[in-house]
Amino acid sequence: MSELRDVVIVDGVRTPFAKAGTNFAKVRAHELGRVAMRELLERLEIADGKGAKARVKVDEVCIGNVGSPEDAANISRVIAMQAGLDKSIPGYTVHRNCASGMEAVAQGWLKIASGQAEVMMVGGVESMSGMPLIYRPEAVDFFARMMRIKSPVQKIMALLKLPLGTLLNPIVAIQEGLTDPFCGMNMGQTADLLAKEFRITREEQDQFALDSHRKAVAAQENGKLAEEIVPVPVPMKYKEVVREDIGPRKEQSMEQLKKLKPYFDRVNGTVTVGNACGITDGAAFLALMTREQARNAGYKILGKIRSVSFSGHEPERMGLGPVYASHLALKKAGLSLKQMDVIEVNEAFAAQVLSVMKAAASKEWCQEKLGISDALGEIDPAKLNPNGGAIAIGHPVGSSGARIVLTALKELNRSGKQFGLATLCIGGGQGGAVVVEREA
């Protein structure tokens, strides 16, 4: 194989992340995506990505999304067109559960590094508010029968057999989606399992959650998060502009967190809605290109992608994905965990991130599972999610993977440090990791 080309990220932008059912409850995923994409195109002076005004020509758009809105099956294409990219620029949507946004980054990197593309617009988008309720098969059968019947009398007869019970008890897509089809465990249950196995106490989890809120609130107040956010005017009346994440709680306290009942395992569990990420709406996008393109266009470069890796393991311990994937990504990059200056581990659950830290620091675990002689390394809490994580900010599944890459890069640029790792766990027993390096 020929030499891989360097791929750089020149900028990125995201919408505020809002707890599902709140400010973006009625905003479609593609609308959120459009706002973020358009803003990125404007900031980079890309215009329609093709014409004379475009500072660089965009080759393709790749967007990660889990919930596939029914009116935007290939949401990537819909967003690209609505954001004003020329119709000749193709777009595709990728799905890797919680890492869909990161998969889009990986796609961009692959295509550019291998010479298939020069400029890629990538990102992730999710409206968990917009996830549908689905009719059960019995109800679907009923509708099909009704459509076939022509005679009014028979229609009335059939109506009498209306399966009201199933009609009022639809399948909740979001609930089904968060349950593993192999082990049958809900994501929360997998976190409870890790808490037990890694001996993470309820108090440790709550403390971790509280810290996430504190860090996120601080980053809101000092404007760090605002750097990556484009405000979203809320259709259809535009009476409101959402400017920051709806999730971080300034007044969050241990007392409040303690009061919450375990949500997934009500008897023996320790995972509560307070120490888990919330279901959320939001979008995040990045512009990837070759260094040459970026230099020629005169862009300031945020950073270079050093490596991208995905890994697989047992679904019931899906939360440990970051250890597996980071190991691979660091190895490819020829770097060690210790060298990382900023580490973004997506906070699906406090118990899960704490387990990741323990596993990575455990020589035995790493020997057994990663087949390496020593521990992967300690994750310094000071370097971990310095601006808060998904427990406070939220986890719109399709977009978080892109968000943590962006957040890590912005932090590296603020602090003037060199290496960043963005990694997350993936429902179904996978892990994803991206290593980035700030351009000096």
Binding site: E45, K53, Q82, A83, G84, M236, K237, Y238, K239
Partner: protein, 709 residues
């Protein structure tokens, strides 16, 4: 058997195609020649025994038949002439309708007025699904009615309410809608349309016409209900026209009268009604306005040698209500617009305004929800100049303050490309002075929209001293692209429209001070045909704003623009007009409810000096000063022609269109008389403010504002 305009083709199976192809023209129009040729073709064809059917097509892209030559109508000056002309054309089309074989109109583009009347004279009609298909009878908008049989035939084809709607509103429908309404018998794809139409015609020769009547529509045409339909329609007409326009009323009378009459008799009465309308001054005025707007479409405001730049992206500074309206105008035509303001509260206001405008279209189902979001998606907001390097034009709508505007323009210039045009939406500040603040003054011009942007069609394109011709042409073309009617105005206080409007509002305030009641002032001007009385207009504009602008003009023009002291006195009491709910009128939820009589006590200087002036004199006191100022503006070259003054006043202020605009009105009043009346007002205490100026005297001496009168 080919003529200059018509070609006949053998289409096999004893079918023929008659193709209308006007030489050296993009459109097909019924000129005298074309009509005569059509008649001779009809004559020949009527003798042929071998023909089974004839399909009438057009060779023009996007146009079937655009109607009758408007100049023919304009020149009709006596009822006799009008009757002769109308009857001749009507009979030609009537003879066509009697051809002894199948006739089918194949409509693939604009099919309006006389064109639609020919289609109605065919036995069947088919339309294509092309976007260009527009079918309608716009005669009413020119103050006339369909006189080539359309008024007679349409109500016999479709239910009465449908026919009334089309004829009274002059609205145009596309092929699909026409099919649903029953106007056309088939609706076919635009690809190979003429071939398809001929094939369809051959196949459907034995099919009778469509019957779109239902039990209800039949019922509505029966005696008691028919009366109700007509009286409802009349009420609607009175509501929208206030009885100022005779054509819709005449149409109602005619349709009621000819219902159930023999065709020949009905046609006779139609021609008679047409001829009565065609000679009215109102029709002449409406035709003149139509021709003025058509004229605008054909120019770029400068000259053909000057090239306008196509605006593909736009920037906007200041996103308030006005900014939001301008953003809407861009987004509505799918031009991406970047809206910059100092904070997101401001940007939100712009979004809200644009959303409100698109909301109306959504409500009327002219937009679907995804389309609504798509249009709104053309707008983006920003606190900095990011993205401005890519725009072709920046419109600034920041606060009306010269220092701020200069600063903003100088700053913006750093972030935009070399050729980007910087346009100010100022309503009163000097473009030339703004040019002093930038390094590329040739790219700076004025683009003055009127509030509310979504409803006011006028845009004043203002050329400062250093504005290049390219800039003017680009702004002119841009305005047209945005669906507006632009006029080019020379830089100067108040530009054109506000400069003329101010003496009117000012004079209303003087009359108020001289003891005329608010109601009476407004009522006489409403009766005159203004869309809003001047006192309400002052409320609407803001009493403080009116006072400020009056002061600016007073400083610029001296004694002849002496400002009424009333507005300042009222502003001091805290009344600002509609915006704070307190003005000459009382307001509830932003809507005026009644005149606020308590205001009278606030104006200490009030006398009873003019309380006894007649209504007519009140109108003259308020309108003649506008004419006076217009004469001066013309002499100074603020605009080049009286036509532009009229366009500006009609589209910028709603000045009674049936009067043809300010200067057509002036001509009908006779400039000499206007000057004399002003002299009288001047001597009666108006002084220099009401004295006829030199420019008006000059015009009075020569005769009229418009030449050829």
């Amino acid at each position: 058997m080919n003529t200059k305009n018509f070609k006949l083709f053998d289409r096999g199976d004893s079918w023929y195609e008659l193709c209308f192809d006007q030489p050296d023209s993009k459109a097909n129009v019924f000129t005298e020649e074309a009509l005569r040729e059509l008649d001779s073709v009809t004559e020949e064809l009527s003798k042929r025994k071998d023909i089974i059917g004839l399909v009438v097509t057009s060779a023009k892209k996007d146009i079937y038949i655009a109607g009758a030559d408007i100049n023919l109508i304009k020149d009709l000056d006596t009822i006799d002439k009008a009757l002769t002309a109308c009857s001749a054309g009507q009979q030609m089309i009537h003879r066509f309708s009697k051809l002894p074989f199948e006739t089918v109109a194949a409509i693939s583009g604009a099919c309006l007025g006389g064109g639609f009347e020919l289609a109605l004279a065919c036995k069947k009609r088919v339309a294509s699904d092309a976007r260009a298909v527009k079918i309608g009878l716009p005669e009413v908008m020119l103050g006339i009615l369909p006189g080539f049989g359309g008024s007679t035939r349409l109500p016999r084809l479709v239910p009465l309410p449908t026919a009334l709607d089309l004829i009274l509103s002059g609205k145009q429908v596309d092929g699909k809608r026409a099919f649903k309404m029953g106007i056309v018998d088939a609706f076919l794809p635009e690809q190979d349309f003429n071939e398809r139409a001929i094939a369809w015609a051959k196949q459907n020769i034995n099919r009778s016409g469509r019957n779109v009547h239902t039990f209800m529509t039949r019922l509505m045409e029966m005696v008691p209900l028919r009366g109700v339909v007509f009286s409802q329609a009349r009420k609607q007409v009175m509501k929208t026209t206030k009885g100022k326009y005779p054509a819709p009323l005449k149409i109602l009378d005619l349709l009621a009268e000819i219902h159930g009459l023999q065709m020949d008799e009905a046609l006779k009465r139609e021609a008679k009604a047409f001829s009565q309308l065609a000679v009215t001054p109102i029709s002449k005025r409406l035709i003149e306005i139509f021709q003025l707007t058509e004229g605008v479409k054909k120019t770029n405001g400068v000259s053909d040698e000057v090239k306008a730049t196509k605006v593909e992206r736009a920037g906007l500074l200041g996103a308030g209500v006005m900014g939001g309206g301008i953003a809407w105008a861009f987004a509505n035509k799918d031009i991406p617009v970047r809206m910059k303001d100092l904070n997101w509260d401001g940007i939100r206001l712009g979004y809200e305004q644009a959303g409100e405008n698109f909301g109306f279209a959504l409500k009327k189902r002219k937009l679907t929800k995804p389309q609504f979001l798509g249009k709104m998606g053309m707008i983006s907001g920003s606190l900095d100049y990011s993205g401005f390097r890519n725009v072709d034009v920046v419109v600034e709508a920041v606060v009306e303050n010269m220092d701020v505007k200069k600063k903003v323009m100088a700053e913006t210039e750093k972030y935009i490309s070399e050729n980007c045009i910087l346009a100010s939406n100022t309503s009163s500040l000097s473009i030339t002075e703004m040019q002093s603040a930038v390094s590329r003054p040739q790219n700076v011009g004025g683009l003055h929209f009127f509030n509310p942007v979504s409803r006011m069609p006028l845009v004043e394109v203002i050329a400062g001293e250093k504005t290049s011709k390219e800039t003017v042409a680009t702004l002119f073309e841009l305005s047209k692209k945005l669906g507006k009617t632009p006029i080019v105005v020379k830089d100067g206080p108040g530009f054109l429209v506000n400069r003329l409007l101010l003496p009117y509002m000012n004079e209303a305030l003087f009359l108020y001070e001289e003891g005329v009641s608010i109601e009476r002032i407004d009522q006489v001007m409403l009766d005159f045909g203004m869309p809003m009385g001047p006192m309400r207009l002052v409320d609407e504009v803001g009493i403080d704003v009116a006072a400020k602008v009056a002061k600016i003009l007073n400083q610029a023009f001296g004694a002849r623009a002496e400002a009424s002291p009333v507005s300042e006195e009222i502003v001091k009491s805290g009344r600002l007009g509609k915006k704070n709910g307190k003005g000459f009128y009382k307001y509830e939820n932003g809507k005026p409810t009644a005149v606020d009589e308590s205001i009278d006590a606030l104006v200490k200087s009030r006398t009873t000096k003019s309380a006894r002036l007649s209504d007519l004199d009140l109108v003259k006191r308020m309108t003649y000063p506008m004419i006076n100022e217009a004469a001066l503006a013309l002499a100074e070259g603020v605009v080049a022609t009286p036509g532009e003054v009229d366009l500006g006043m009609i589209f910028g202020t709603g000045f009674a269109p049936f009067r043809g605009g300010l200067l057509r009105y002036a001509d009908s009043e006779v400039p000499q008389q206007v000057a004399e009346a002003l002299e009288k007002f001047s001597q009666a205490g108006g002084g220099e403010r009401l004295a006829p100026n030199q420019a008006l005297r000059e015009i009075a001496r020569k005769g009229f504002f418009y030449s050829g009168r």
